[in-house]
Point group: C2
Chain length 216, copies 2
DNA sequence: GTTTGTATAAAACAAATGTTTTAATGTCAA
DNA sequence: TTGACATTAAAACATTTGTTTTATACAAAC
């Protein structure tokens, strides 16, 4: 093993193609042969590098999905710190900005969402990792961030539902591209995505309806 | 073939179990043997009654999913006609009522949602049927219903996004039970579901922000 | 130069899986 | 009863699929 391979390491190529295929079709619908052919390497390479198919799936999350999730969160905090600080509108805008535009390319975002959605719809091999290391901590951050806008002390559940609702919007528009396109006739081009961000921010900001302290 | 079988027709039993398993695990993750064992019938029964596995999947949608979707829509129109008519609040409330409580049992609703979500996440065998015969028509109905509340004539896209957003909320809270439960600590019991309906109605009603003609 | 360890390739294996075949069973009509 | 038809049961079949084995090429270490 050295540098100057054909292109990149075959291990990396397998991870790349495996992620794309798992995202598109789901774990069971993808075969090891399909992956290795797409990665232009031998069938045995998967078992050589990763032991078995399940482990490859987990490695995809460890080495691809998790770092990307962290990048998105970092972007969120970045936007948050550079703009008008901690206003409610600023927080919601930063969320939409990070998750719908953010540091990811469009392909990356689609792939990323689909992988997550599959794990959320039915608990799978990577669900624990995903929930414990990404979703829960980030959710906790948001609770703290939105704390000042709480109506009262006893309304903790209300805030949880509000936060989840923002994610509902963000996630749904990423995962339901097909029906949205077929029903509205709108393609997911740049201009439509821009409109989407605008819409989500407006809808959620109104929906939150937290007119206690600082407003927009 | 006659009545007085062991319990019900084996064809029906296969459809029942197949639907539950397809909903839970997805098409590829379920085997024909798994289905026939759950349905207490012979392996060949699937191919005898339905030709092949794909056709069974389609039959599940034709004979199970579609009728249920129609029942939910009928319930929506029912609620709509019996309550305060055509106010915006009434429409949103009827939507939430029909889709989150409505005529389905909790198990049915979960099963129903999961099947739909899988088809929406990745276009599959039943996507055309689902979109053309259920989603599109119902979407059209809603556009008409919400027409009077349009801000202007040129804002058709805005209304589409608003409608889709309501579905985003309703669908998301059905499909993301696992992460919602694990993040908030809330089980999906009756009291929590009641709170959910309340929340969705409030959030969407505010989010729609259509203060043109009659208000709530 | 030999050895060692790593990566790739080709072939083989064993289990799983969708499908088909063939036989058996039961029901209803003639 | 007989014959046609529908349903169920058991076994076999042909692929597919995840995994393992064996062999080969190649670079670095001794």
């Amino acid at each position: 093993m050295d540098a100057m391979d054909n292109c990149t390491d075959s291990k990396d190529r397998i991870l790349d193609k495996a992620e794309a295929l798992f995202a598109e079709k789901g774990f069971h619908a993808v075969t090891v042969r399909e992956i290795t052919q797409a990665a232009h390497c031998n069938l045995a390479a998967v078992n050589y590098h990763f032991g078995n198919k399940q482990n490859l799936y987990l490695e995809v999350f460890r080495t691809r999905w998790m770092p990307r999730a962290r990048r998105v969160q970092a972007c969120f905090k970045d936007v948050l710190s550079t703009q008008d600080g901690r206003s409610l509108a600023g927080i919601v805008h930063a969320l939409a900005e990070a998750f719908l535009k953010g540091p990811l390319t469009d392909d990356e975002r689609l792939c990323h969402s689909q992988l997550m959605i599959r794990e959320m719809a039915k608990p799978g091999l990577a669900t624990d990792m995903l929930v414990d290391e990404v979703i829960k901590p980030f959710f906790g951050d948001l609770v703290v961030l939105l704390g000042p806008y709480l109506p009262e002390n006893g309304e903790r559940e209300r805030v949880m539902l509000d936060i989840v609702s923002i994610f509902a919007m963000v996630i749904y528009f990423n995962f339901a591209r097909v029906p949205v396109t077929r029903v509205t006739g709108q393609e997911y081009d740049e201009v439509f995505k821009e409109r989407l961000v605008e819409h989500i921010v407006r809808f959620c900001l109104k929906g939150l309806d937290m007119d206690k302290k600082e407003g927009a």
